[in-house]
Each structure stands twice: as C-alpha cells, then as structure tokens.
Amino acid sequence: MRTSKYIILGCLLAVGATSCKKWLDVNTDPSSPNNGSAAIQNRLPWIEHFYQYTSGVANYRAAAQSGVYYSTNGSNGNQLSTTWNVNTGNTTPYQTWFVEVASNLNDLYNTAQKQNAYHYMAAADVFHALGFMEMLDLYGEMPYTQALTQNPSPGYDDGKTIYNGCMAKLNEAISLFSKAQDATVPSLVAGDLWNGGSVDKWTKLCWGLKARYMLKLSKKADLYNADSILYCLSKGPQSIADNIVGPGLNNSTVTDYLIGDPVVTNGNFDYVAYGSTQRITQYYIDKLTNMRGSGVIDPRMTKIVPASMANVKLDASGRISSYTWLRAIGVDVHGTATRLVKGGSASINSVTFATKNTNIAYKIANATDRANFINDQTTYGRTFSVSNDTVTVTYPVGSNYINSANYLYAGDTVYVNVRSSALATSGIAAQGPTDVSWYQSTAAFNAGVVASTGSFQIRPVSDQEILTYHEMCFIKAEVYMRKNDMANALIAYKAGIQAHMDMMQAKLTSWQAAGYTATNPDMAPMKTADISAYMASAAVAQGNVTMSDIMLQKYLAMGCSIENWNDMRRFNYSVGNVGSFGVVYPGFQRSPLFAGTALYTGSGTSDPRYWPRRWSLPNTLELNYNISNALALNPHATDANIWSMPIWWDCATDAEYNGYLSK
C-alpha cells in the first residue's frame, strides 16, 4: 500500500516535471517577431532605407563643413558651417549607422548564408563597406572587428584595419554577386529597393566604390595606384543608367522609430531640408554663377538655388494674383561675412507670412544704418514712416517678412532657405503629394505664397545619390591628371559635367511628368540649349584643365555629399601644397566668425591641424560607455583638438598616422 503510494506520487512528479518545463516555456514574445524569423527580402529594404538616413545626415553635416550649406542649427550645423567650434561629438550618423543599419547586417548575412542566397550575402557585404567606410571618414577610429558582436565593450581598430576590412568585403561581394542563386532562394528583386534586383548594377556599385575608396589613398605614395583605380572604373558605372540611387517618395506620413523622421522620403531631405535652418552659402552659389571667373550662369543654378515669392499681391479672395520670384542669395560665411559679423553666427532669421498688413517699428540709433535702411525701403517700394530714430515699415498682407524689430535682420528674406515640405512634415492637410514647396503656414498655402522652392538633391522626392556615373568621371579625370595625362583628364572632366547635367535633366523630366512642376517651376527640366551653351562656355575648361577645374566641378555636382569633404581633406583645402596642382579650392578659408581655437590648433594654414580633419566620437553613444577602449587605441580621443587630427587615409604614411595616435 505504502509503496504504491510512492509510485503514484513518483509518476505525478514525473508528469509534473515535464509539463512544468512546457509551462515555463513562455519567454518568446508572442506579439512580436524576433530577429531569428525575419526574411532576408524584408531585411534588405530596411537596411537600404536606413542607410539613407546615415548617409543623409553624414552628407548634410559634411556639406556644412565643406562650405556648401550655411546653417543656423545651433546644436551642430552652425558650428560645423561657421564657427567650427563644435563641443560635442556628432551622434546621429553614428547611431543611425550602428543601431538602425549595421545591427541587421549579421542577421542578413547569416540567414542568407543558410539559404545559399549569395546575392543577399553580397548585399550585406556592400553595406558593411558603405557604412564602415563612412564612419572611418568621419571618426577615424572605432570598434570594428569586435563591433556588432555580443561583446558589450568592443575594442577599437585603427583606420587602416577598417579600410582594409571594407575593401575585403567589397571583394567578397563581387565574387558572391558573380554566383548564380538557386531558383528556390528568394531572388534579389524581391527585396531590392535600390537597384530592382539588378546584379549588374550591384556589381558596378562594388567596383565604383573600390575606385572611390582607392582614390582616398592619394596622399600615400606607396598605396595610391592610378591604374588599379582606372581598372575599377572600367568595371563600375558606365553611364547615368548605371547610377545607384535610393528612392525618395512622398506618399506616407509614417515616421521612423528612433529619430522620428519621415520614413519614405529622401534621406538628404530629412536632415537638410526638413526645417528652416539651412541655406546655401555664397561660396557654393559662386560655383553656379561665376565658375572659373566666367560670370556664366549655370543652367543648374535655378534647380539648386531655391527661390521664394516676393512682391506678392493678393486678389479679393485672398489668393495670389501677382508676384515675382526672389532667387536666394548665398550666405557669406567664408569671405567678409558682413551680415553674420553684425548679427552673430547663427542670426539669420526665417520668414513669417503676413496674414494682414503688418507694421514693424525698427529703432535704429546709428544714423548711417538708419539712412541705409530707409534707402532700402524705398528701393523695395515698401510703405514706411520715420519718427526720430524709429522707422516703421508696413509689410503688406501676403508677404513673407522677418518678424523682428531688429533692423539687422529685416533683409534676411533674401537668404531663402532650402526647406521643402513632405506629407509627413508640412502640417498642411490640403498640401498634396505633388506639391513639395515650402509654405510658411497654412494661411500662406491657402494664399499660394511659396516660401521656398527647395533644392535639387534635397527634396523629399529627390534621388539619394549613392554612387553616380558623374562621380566616376571626375575620379577618372583626377586620376588622369595625377598621371599627367591631360587629354584624358579633360575628356573625363567634360564627361563628368555632362553626366551630371544628364542625370539632373532625367530627374527633372520625370518630375515634370509626375506633375511637380505645376506648383514649382524649379523642378522643370533645363533648356537643352542652355546646357550646350554652358558646356561650350568659359565656365568649362575647353583645354588646359586644372585640378581645381576638375575638383570644383565635382564639388558643384556632388553638392550634398560627404565626398566633397573627403576631397577637400585630400587636397588640404585651399592650401595648395598637394603635388603641383596649386590651390584647388580657392577662397575656402576660416570664417571671420571662426571660434574653434581649441579644436583646430594648427599654427598656419599649411599645418594639417589648422583644418577640420575628423569629428570627435559621440560622447553619449560611445565615449561614455567605452572610454577605456577608445583611449587604449587613441589616447587623444577625448582631446578638444581631436577635430583636427588627420585620419589614416589623410596621412601620407602609417608612421605619420601612428605618430598622431601615440601619446
């Protein structure tokens, strides 16, 4: 009896133990898929999209640093564009890359490997190279071999290791793309947002990237290899049809989970043209209006430089009846910077829309200033009255004006910002998907008064240029010039300009077809005759091309791109001490509002440390949590003047680089 009791008890326990194990097995969240279950054809579009964020924010900030954009954005943009006095690391490129993009690469690669999906494995390799190389360009050193592992405190790698790692990934990608995938495996077309599954374009992207990356070595006598670059170029994009771009759409209000930016739009737009704080510099606009001192207006000018409506008259129903286009004036940052010196580095004001006739009283103590101010009002035909030292100006209903009693800012309307609107950002319900102009308010929209027409590369619906044929041409031109093959350099230079014109024209034509030009004439195609006239004009070198000619046309074409900053570093900005190429970026110098004394400690322009050479690593995302590893590799990682420390490819030799890294 007793024994049987124990047997029964024993059985119950055994049953209990088994069911207990099952009962405890509830630690997989039933309401969310996990990383083991994501399909590769869903993982890839995510990676492609979020890389556009990383690339967009890197492009924006690098373009501010290389003088394309002037910014009033106090937290980083203005400091990169104007004062150069940045006191925190740049977090967004780092975070979007590692958290939004790179965390998916191992999962994509490993899942693809299990299925023998070679093309997805290859795509993972390409993104590895794209992202890490961009991080190398920006930060110089970071965790690489131990990054994206379970290690919560990954160790650091130097620039050379990261560079070689990225090149190896591209080689692997080329070989993987050359393999045929089984028909049962998800085809690349099912998950490729960028290239429609074209293995040919992906392969060309790999070769093109190799050329771009090998060009970075131009300071290194031992590693720079012109013929290798030309070989890569021969296998890279051969026409604008081979351009690799990420799409920008305007059909959704969904915003992203981490930063809160619109999801479907072009990444450059999300950072440059989302708000009102960015404007084009005088330095950049000069390349569109006076290239080579020619005074020739580039047909691309009105496509890149925004305009706003001025001299607006409203009809009885409050709709616009007449207006003129006010083309933006570039902000003088690098020259005398008169306006900024007067008002402060971030003082350029954004416009307000006048819903009624609006008076602003300006108290102007300085008699000369007052006289000039009154003169200006007369010139622009405004109604005003003067009483002692106060000038009261009436801004008529329908106009965009600066809502400040400070007379210094009153003329800031000419600095039209590059803002565009998307469905997710405009806040104007009636503004449809094919109207991407910026209206200052709903009232302005209802009246039809445009505050900015935007800029070619940075509208929500712009293509995000990942790798283009025109860049290939300019690389070719530079390489030939370095080989002293002037004839081929000239051919490639001209082909580059033409390729950029063609690419723009194709996009502008497609915008016209999609109906964007109904509200925005700057999105319409250029006149073909203007293009050919420009190509034959003095703005384009017709013989005797110089390195500066090549690089400035490249600078103009690349615009919102990190590559301009990379090129400027390779040529030591406007110093003119690289080879016998002379001054490559004439006129690019520190602003009179420069305040980065502690960051840029070089004593003169020819001292490498006079110029921006890298960004400091982000404090809050990296240094606060990984400081010992950071300092172990680079004891100067937290020094204020890390900003002027050249990165590996910016040094002529490893010895020079290691010298910087030593204590």
């Binding site: 919560p152 981490l258 307000t352 400040s404 806040g427």
Partner: protein, 1058 residues
C-alpha cells in the same frame, strides 16, 4: 462559487455558539496596554487590544484566553464579559511577542536572526494616507519613501536598505504580500510618446498598492534583509512587506463607521519676480517681445514668453502661480462589519475616498470592498478573502509638454507664464484657445495655456482590481499541518488621453487626438506547504517544506487616433480609419519554487534557522533557469545566562547570512523586430534597438547582517540595532552601451551593487502613569549605496527616465554613488599640470565672454550623491486620560537635491535671483581659458561690447549671463537637511461618556495635521521630491523639476463602533 462560499461562512458564523467577550488589559500599575495579543486557547484566533487596552473577541463560554505582551508574563484567564486583566512584568518572558515572518509564519521575535519591524493598525492610522506607502514614512528604520508629487493620485516609491538593481526597467521596491498572496505594486507607465504623447515625466502615475484600503490592515510586517525574505524567492531581494488584514472576532457583530474630511493646500510655491515683463533682448540690444525664436539653452521655450523684458510700469501684475493652485478636499468614509462564532469569523468592509487635487480639475477617487472569512471544520480551517477596488484619477500634464507639442505641460507653463499676462484668460469667445501671440506664432510652435490643458484636455486613469485568495490549513496532528493556498490578483488600468482641438501640438493633432490604453494584469499563484514541529527535551525543532507556482500575464492594448470630423464628438468612430491606430502586447512570466526551512532551538536561549529555495523561472535561458539559494540565521539570548537584573532586562544578539537570486524581466533573452516599414512596393523589417541576451544568468544577492536587541529598566527603554551589508552581483541590466555593438540597450550580466548601512531603533516609555503616558520611538538609519565593478570603459549608468534640466540621474561604476547625478559645470582654473584646481576660479571663454561650461567633454562631471547621510523618525504618543496626542517628526541629513524648478525659472527670467543689480549689470570674473590671464568683465545695460568680433549689447549679455549661470548644475545642487512635522494628531475617546454601550460601543474623534511644518535648508519648494516618479534603477529621487508642489493637510474624523 466564491460568493456562495462567502455566504455559507457568514451564515455559519451567525449560528455558531459563542459569546462576545470584551475586556480591558492593564499593566500592574494600571496603565492600559495597547497591542496585547489575546489568543483563544487551543485555537489560533487572536485579537489585539486597542489604545485604551480594550479588546473584543468571540469565544465559547469557558474558553481560556491567553494574554501576551512584550515584557509581561503571559497569563491564561477564563473568559468572562467585561473582564479586566492586569499583566505583571516578567523579565524572563520579556520578548515573547510574536511577529509575522516569511510565508506568513508567526514566530517569536527572540527566535529571529534578522531584523523585522512590525507596524500595527493604530500606528498606520495615525496619519492615514490613501497610499499606504506614505504612511510608513519615518516609522521604519532602513525604509526610504519618496512621494512622486503633491498631485491627487500620485504614487510613491519605497526602497528598503537601498536599491539593488541599476537598470531602469528593474524594480527596487519590496514585494508586498497580503494575507499570503503576492500583491502587485508596480507603477505602470502606460504612456508612450508615439501613441499618446506621454512619457513618465508628463504626468503622475499611481503605484498599485494604492488599491488597498489602509483601514483594512490589521498588521504590517517589514522584512528587510534577504535572510528574512529568502523564502519568497526571486522577488524578495528588495525586502518584503507582509500585510495581514483584519478578521472578525468571536462575539457580537461589530460595526465600525469612520468618516474623515480633509483639506489640503500647496506647502510652498516658488516665488516669481514681479519687476520685469515678458520679452527679451537680442544681441544688438533691440528689445523684442514678439519674436518667435528658441531659447538657446532650453531650445523649447519661446523667447517672448520669457520674462527678460522691460521694467513693468503698470499695475497689471498677475500672481499666476499663486492663483493657479486651489485648496484640495478629501472625503473619506469607511464602514466595516465583523463578527464571528467559535468556528468562524467574517470581516466585511467598504470604503469611499474622494479627493480633489490642488491643481484645478484633478482628483482621485477610490472605492474598495473587502471580505475576509474564516471557517473551521474539525482540523481544517479555511480562510477566504476577496477585495475589489475601483480607483479613478483625473491627471494633469506636469513637467513636460506632450511629445510633438509645444510648451511645458500644465506645470511647466505655470512656472513660466509671464506675470504681465493674466493666465486665467485662456479661451476666446468662439471656444478657441486664447493665445497671446496668435498672429505671430504658428499653433504648433506655441505653448498651451495651463488652464487650457486642465480644462480642455482630459487625462484620466481608471483601475479596477480584484484580488482573492483561499487558504486551507489542515492539522494532521498537533505537530504537523498542511497548508494549501490559491491566490488571484487581477486588475485592469484604462488610461484615457484626450487632447482637445486647438491645442498647441504638432499640426497632425491640432484637430484633436484621442488615445486609450488598457493594461490588464493577471497573477495566479498556488502554494502548498507543510509544517512539522517537535520538541526533544530542551530542544525544539521545526521543519517546513513547500512549493509554489506563479503565473503572470500582462496584456497591453493601445488605441489612438487623431482628427475628429464632427466637432464635440470625442470618439474613435469620429476619426477616419486612416488615422486610427492600435498596438497590443502580451507579457508572460512563470515561476515555480520549492523551498524549505529547518530550525532548531535550545531552551529559550539559542535559535538557529536555515532555509533553502530553488526557483525555476521562465525568464532566463533554459540552461540557467534553475537556481538555488540558501540562508542561515541565528539568535542568542545572552541574558538568559546572566543573573536577573533590572538594568539590562533582556539582551539578544543575532546574525544572518543569505543569498537570493533574482531572475530577468520577460523576453530579455531575444532580440525583437521593429514594426515593419513600407516604402513603395517593399516592406522592410529590422532589429529593435535593444538586444536580447541568450546566455543570461540570474542576478545574485549575498547579504549578511548582525544586530542586537536590548531592553533596559524592565523594558522602559529598548534598543534595536542592525548593521547590514549586501552585494548584488551579476546584475541583470539593460544599460546604454557603446552603439558599436549595434544596439543602444543591451541585456547583460555585469557589475554589482553594494549596500551597507545601519539601523537603530530606540523605544522609551518616559512616563507610565494611570492617567498619563508617554511613549516615544526614535528610528535612525543610513544606507550607503555604491555601484561596484562594471563593464570596463562604462563611465555612467543612466536610468533614461530621470534627465531634467542639466542633470541626469546616474549610477557611477567602480565604487561610485548608486544614487549619483551627472551634470554640466563650469571649468575651473588649471594648475601647472593642466589639472583643474578643486576650488579654482572659473574659466571664461573669450569667444562667448561667459564662463566656460563643461558639457561632458572629455568626462561628464559627477555633481552629487542623492542618497541622504541618514534619515529617521521620532514618533511620540502622549496619553492623558481620554486624550491621545501623537506626533511624528521625520528627519533627514544630507543628500543632494537638484532644484530644477529654479533652473527652469532662471532660464525663463521669472526667478527672483535674476533681479541682481536690478538687471543693470553683471560681472564675469575668472581666468581666460585660452591665455590663462585674469579675466574680469562687467556687462552693463546700455553699453556695447565686442565679443569674438561681433558687437553685442549689455542687456543681451546680462540675459546670457543668467543662461550661462543656469548651465552650471552646481548652482542648483544643495545638500539638504530637513525636519518635518509629518503628522500631528489629537484623538479623544468618548468611550467613558457614553453611558449605554448597547448601541454605540465606542466613539472617537480625531484631528490630524500632516506636513504642517518643514524646517529645511532647501531653497526650493519641498525637499521631498522625485521629478519623474522613477522607481527603476536609481530613479529620479532628489530631482525637483516643475512638479505639482507637495501638500500639507488638515483632517477631522470620527470613528464609531456599534
């Protein structure tokens, strides 16, 4: 079924053959003895005497009643109605009081090897707070309470002996156990920036122990150390609070009615300057009071709402802050019915609590019901209890504006509104929001008027909760019993957030937004345990074996949408389907535990107890899901070996060592995907920013404590001392780590938290007379929390929820403060080695003409330790005839507080400090950080200065000076001391006046004042602060930021027993 069982019990009670026995217990000198345990012989049914020494119990006619009390000889007396019992002091039986320990087991206090503090109903009710946790303030050494805010329905956090877990998502609060069933006390932040625009700092949240009616509590036992709590397993590492609710006693049915009315008011408000109006000066000195531009420091405030403007000449100054807050009221009514027979008893209660807050249109309402019943069938005793509560909170937006909304919420708005505008003017005749800068600022960039928020928006939270348990004890023999228990705890919280059309929010939501959030929590537990008890000569042994299982399911559903089509119809059907959204989630957790305890004692001299428990949890990887932890404790009553003396009447030393495991939060082992995104024809998915960890191990706390209990002068003075040390290693955390791992947060096992501390409790009875008595208790304790070793290279450990102004709550690895705080400071002058001199002059940046701010490059400055040096309470009970006067002082010494409210009011120009020199001049003096030369510069209004090549006006620099001042966290950090008169109560007992006790048996009236006085060096509002109500990790205690001010109150109540 449950209802039927209840009914049966009530019926049984009524027909049982018992008589009511009432009586009074006095000491041999005639003083009434409160808290004497009256036990019916041969049963485990007991009651406790009240403050007048009275008791009432139902017992069979010839029952023997056993009277036991600390320091008095236990007596057994035959029950008789109206009996008066005199207890005689007996040193040899001094410590025979019984306390409730882990798993509800009652033990003699002298047998315990660890510290336990008990609080009875009378003590709790002296300053009754609807949030039970708040009533414990100052009463238990080693326990730290932080009230989240003074708003109605606001929660509070409680930690015992410091926090043990660093991570945001990990609770450091003790486990609450009510009548043997674990009772959830989480503070659920249901808000989500994406769905209803709320985060923790937007409003106040309740902690769920608030669902308990404090009047139902008979006794509360605080188990502080791991040894005391080890049997409770994974969730006991932070201590346990065991609550026993009231039971009926044998005799007549007793009806108790109590009614309270209370008024409350803001304790202290910040003082705003009344000299300067709104607007600000731009860099060239032009005055602007209509420019839309961001404040360069805060980035969110609109400069025209700042008070950097011109001297106010008119008389139109509005006391916007003072007139915003109103008097709050509370109506609190309770009814209970209890009774019992020889074989059964019941207790039934209902309560209604109705509070209006000091912020207009806010309030907290709570209705509770409870049934407790007990029935005996031979050797089987069955207890059942069921409680229902319904709590409703009308909340306000507090310190931060809604996500995608302008302004700073209601409270942020109140503390920034320029005094030249009448804030009460919030609505136009057409029903739209009255906006001062309506033509200038787009609605989405404007700030909401606080009155608009409280009157037009609607934020409510409703929690309905049912808890129930059935407990059966079967006594097999007189040395062996078996107990079975099933417990159920279920609640659902419905949060409702409505943003009215016309609010200053993102354009998408300007035509209204509605969000409903449901959290449904279900917890089921079963326990079977068996006790064995045997004596062998002078040795006494006991053994307990038990097993328990716990099942927790939490579902979360959120619905939200925006843009109401038909005006004034606030519902989802009035929203286009494209603008309706929903989300849901399910969190599941399971745990099985097996435990045992073995004890051995020798005479009444030496005791030793060992426990062991093994848990199997669902939240750890299968290979690590089982873990065992032991504890051992002992006590030695050394006075038993000494000759009897009246000086040291009793002495005991005790010690314990324990290890407790703590499992992970659910789902920490895997990495999950974000919601898919759709771009063109493609659907993309990617990993979330939190990485799971498939190799997690349990967190282990090892702790020890030693202590002593001493009684002097026949028990007139008592001393209880404890020193403890705990180390919680293998911390399961989800910290922010290097993003290079691919994630922002990563589940890891790393590091340890060290807590050491001391607790002293002194009790005294200075006066023991027939008509006059004075009892006093002093509690004093300190805790030192440190974060031990951690991942190499990790310099700070931030709980994300607690970042306000310029400071962030932080734990500092490698021996730094657990309750640390990082911030921004001014750089100081460097010495010859280029190291900052501790008290050197400030560095000045010639590029700005102001002090140079260290914003965390290269290292983030640690600006304070929020942990107090010590805390305590002094509790006094003075009895004169039928008057009972009690007061509780609680005190604290040290511990940094960040006055973020002053920070905010300096940045917006409302703070009185900014009146320095009538805003005519400020002086910056220190060293030029570039040249090292002395720097001194006075900026005077009306002058112009050239700084970094730009001409700037003096008026502008004066403004910049204060923004610069605000950037130095140290300007707002203070080591704070306080003494608070936490409560003062006077009770009169009409018992003697009532002649006929047939109907009214007892009547008392009480007047209570709470928080009437605070003596403190703190310059802000109330030093007892916690900006975000953070309870996880190091929380947000010690950060004062634009909260609803703490309140003081006065309450009058009567209590009638029929």
């Amino acid at each position: 079924m449950i209802m039927f069982a209840m009914f049966c019990m009530i019926t049984n009670n009524l027909i049982a053959q018992t008589v009511p026995i009432t009586g009074t217990v006095l000491s041999d000198d005639g003083t009434p003895l409160a808290g004497v345990t009256v036990l019916i012989g041969g049963t485990n049914k007991a009651v406790v005497t009240d403050n007048a020494g009275k008791f009432s119990i139902s017992a069979s006619a010839n029952a023997l009643l056993q009277f036991s009390y600390v320091g008095f000889a236990t007596q057994k007396i035959k029950a008789s109605p109206g009996m008066v019992v005199h207890l005689v002091k007996d040193e040899s039986h001094q410590m025979e009081d019984v306390v409730v320990t882990a798993m509800g087991v009652k033990k003699e206090r002298k047998a315990l090897g660890y510290s336990v503090t008990e609080i009875n109903a009378g003590e709790l009710m002296k300053n009754k707070n609807t949030n039970l946790v708040n009533s414990l303030n100052g009463k238990v050494p080693g326990v730290n309470i932080t009230q989240f805010s003074g708003s109605a329905g606001a929660g509070a956090s409680i930690t015992i002996r410091g926090g043990n877990s660093t991570s945001d998502s990990r609770q450091n609060q003790p486990l609450f156990v009510i009548d043997g069933i674990i009772y959830d006390n989480s503070t659920t932040v249901s808000g989500n920036t994406g769905t209803d625009g709320l985060s923790r700092s937007n409003t106040t949240y309740s902690n769920r122990i608030m669902d308990v009616n404090p009047e139902d509590i008979e006794n509360l036992s605080v188990l502080k150390g791991a040894a005391a709590a080890a049997l409770y397993g994974s969730r006991a590492a932070d201590g346990v609070i065991i609550i026993t609710t009231k039971k009926g006693s044998e005799g007549n049915v007793k009806v108790n009615v109590s009614s309270k009315i209370s008024t409350s008011w803001a304790n202290k408000l910040p003082d705003a300057q009344k000299e300067f109006g709104n607007g600000s000066y731009s860099s060239n000195g032009v005055f602007n009071n209509n420019t839309y531009a961001s404040n360069p420091l805060s980035g969110t405030t609109l400069l025209m709402y700042n008070s950097w403007g011109q001297k106010i000449t008119s008389d139109s100054i509005y006391d916007n802050i003072g007139s915003f807050f109103q008097h709050g009221t509370i109506y609190d009514n309770n009814v209970s019915v209890s009774g019992g027979s020889k074989n059964g008893s019941f207790y039934l209660s209902g309560s209604n609590f109705n509070q209006t807050g000091i912020v207009p249109s806010t309030g907290f309402k709570k209705t509770t019901f409870r049934f407790n019943g007990e029935q005996k069938y031979g050797n089987l005793t069955v207890n059942a209890n069921a409680a229902y509560s319904n709590a409703n909170t009308d909340r306000t937006l507090t310190t931060a504006g809604l996500y995608a909304g302008g302004g700073g919420g209601a409270m942020g708005g109140v503390y920034s509104f320029p005094q030249v505008f009448n804030m009460k003017n919030y609505i136009n005749a057409d029903g739209s929001q009255h906006r001062i800068y309506a033509g200038t600022v787009a609605l989405e960039n404007d700030i909401d008027n606080p009155y608009w928020i409280v009157n037009m928006d609607n934020l409510t939270s409703q929690t309905r909760r049912f808890t129930g348990g059935i407990n059966a004890t079967y006594k097999l023999t007189n040395w062996w019993d078996v107990i079975g228990r099933v417990g159920y705890d279920q609640y659902n919280t419905n949060d409702y957030t409505y943003i009215a059309p016309g609010s200053a929010v993102s354009p998408l939501y300007q035509n209204g937004r509605l969000s409903k959030n449901l959290v449904d929590y279900t917890y089921v537990t079963t326990t079977v345990m068996s006790n064995f008890h045997k004596s062998f000569g002078d040795f006494d042994t006991h053994l307990m074996l038990g097993t328990t299982s716990e099942k927790t399911d939490v579902t979360n559903q959120n619905h939200w949408g925006y843009n109401f089509i038909t005006a004034n119809s606030i519902n989802f059907n009035n929203i286009a389907t494209a603008n309706q959204f929903f989300k849901d989630g399910l969190t599941r957790k399971r745990l099985v535990g097996a435990y045992g305890e073995v004890g051995l004692s020798y005479k009444d001299i030496a005791y030793i107890t060992a426990t062991g428990r093994n848990d199997w949890t669902s939240t750890l990887p299968v290979n690590n899901s089982s873990y065992f932890y032991p504890s051992i404790s002992g006590s030695f009553v050394f006075t038993s070996l000494l000759p009897k003396n009246s000086i040291l009447s009793f002495g005991k030393v005790r010690g314990s060592w324990a290890q407790v495991g703590k499992d992970a939060n659910p789902y920490a082992t895997l990495t999950y995907l974000n919601s898919p995104i759709t771009i063109g024809a493609f659907n993309g998915v990617g990993n979330q920013y939190t990485s799971g960890n498939p190799i997690l191990l349990p967190e282990i706390q090892k702790s020890w404590e030693v202590g002593a209990e001493l009684r002097f002068l026949n028990g007139r003075i008592g001393l209880d001392y404890t020193y403890y040390h705990s180390e919680t290693s293998n911390q399961i955390a989800q910290p922010r780590l290097s993003n290079a791992s691919g994630y922002i947060f990563k589940s890891i096992n790393s590091g340890s938290v060290l807590n050491t501390g001391m607790e002293i409790s002194v009790t005294g009875k200075p006066i023991v007379k027939k008509d006059f008595g004075w009892d006093v208790t002093l509690n004093w304790s300190y805790n030192k929390g440190r974060l031990g070793t951690f991942l190499p290279g990790v310099s700070y450990f931030y709980p994300t929820d607690a970042q306000f102004g310029t400071v962030k709550a932080a734990s500092i690895p490698n021996g730094g403060y657990f309750l640390g705080m990082t911030g921004t400071t001014f750089f100081r002058e460097l010495d010859a080695n280029k190291v900052e001199m501790p008290n050197g002059r400030y560095q000045v940046d010639p590029n700005s003409g102001l002090y140079r701010v260290n914003t965390g490059v290269p290292t983030v400055p640690i600006v304070g330790n929020r942990e107090p040096d010590f805390i305590g309470g002094l509790s006094n009970n003075l009895r004169y005839k039928r008057f009972l006067l009690s007061f509780l002082l609680d005190f604290r010494k040290g511990g940094a507080i960040y006055n973020g409210t002053e920070y905010a009011m300096i940045t917006n120009g409302l703070d009185k400090k900014t009146l320095l020199n009538d805003r005519q001049s400020v002086t910056v003096s220190g060293v030029n950080y570039l040249t090292g030369a002395d720097f001194s510069q006075t900026y005077t209004a009306g002058q112009t200065y050239t700084i970094n090549g730009t001409n700037v006006a003096g008026t502008y620099m004066i403004q910049q000076y204060w923004l610069n001042y605000a950037a130095n966290s140290m300007n707002f950090i203070q080591s704070v001391n306080w003494v608070k008169l936490r409560s003062l109560s006077l009770t009169y007992d009409f018992g003697g006046i009532i002649k006929s006790k047939k109907i009214v048996k007892d009547l008392t009236a009480t007047a209570v004042g709470t928080n009437l006085f605070t003596w403190t060096n703190y310059k802000g509002m109330d030093p007892e602060v916690s900006a975000a109500g953070g309870t996880g990790g190091s929380g947000s205690t010690g950060i004062d930021y634009l909260g609803v001010p703490a309140v003081a109150s006065f309450t009058f109540g009567v209590n009638v027993t029929f």
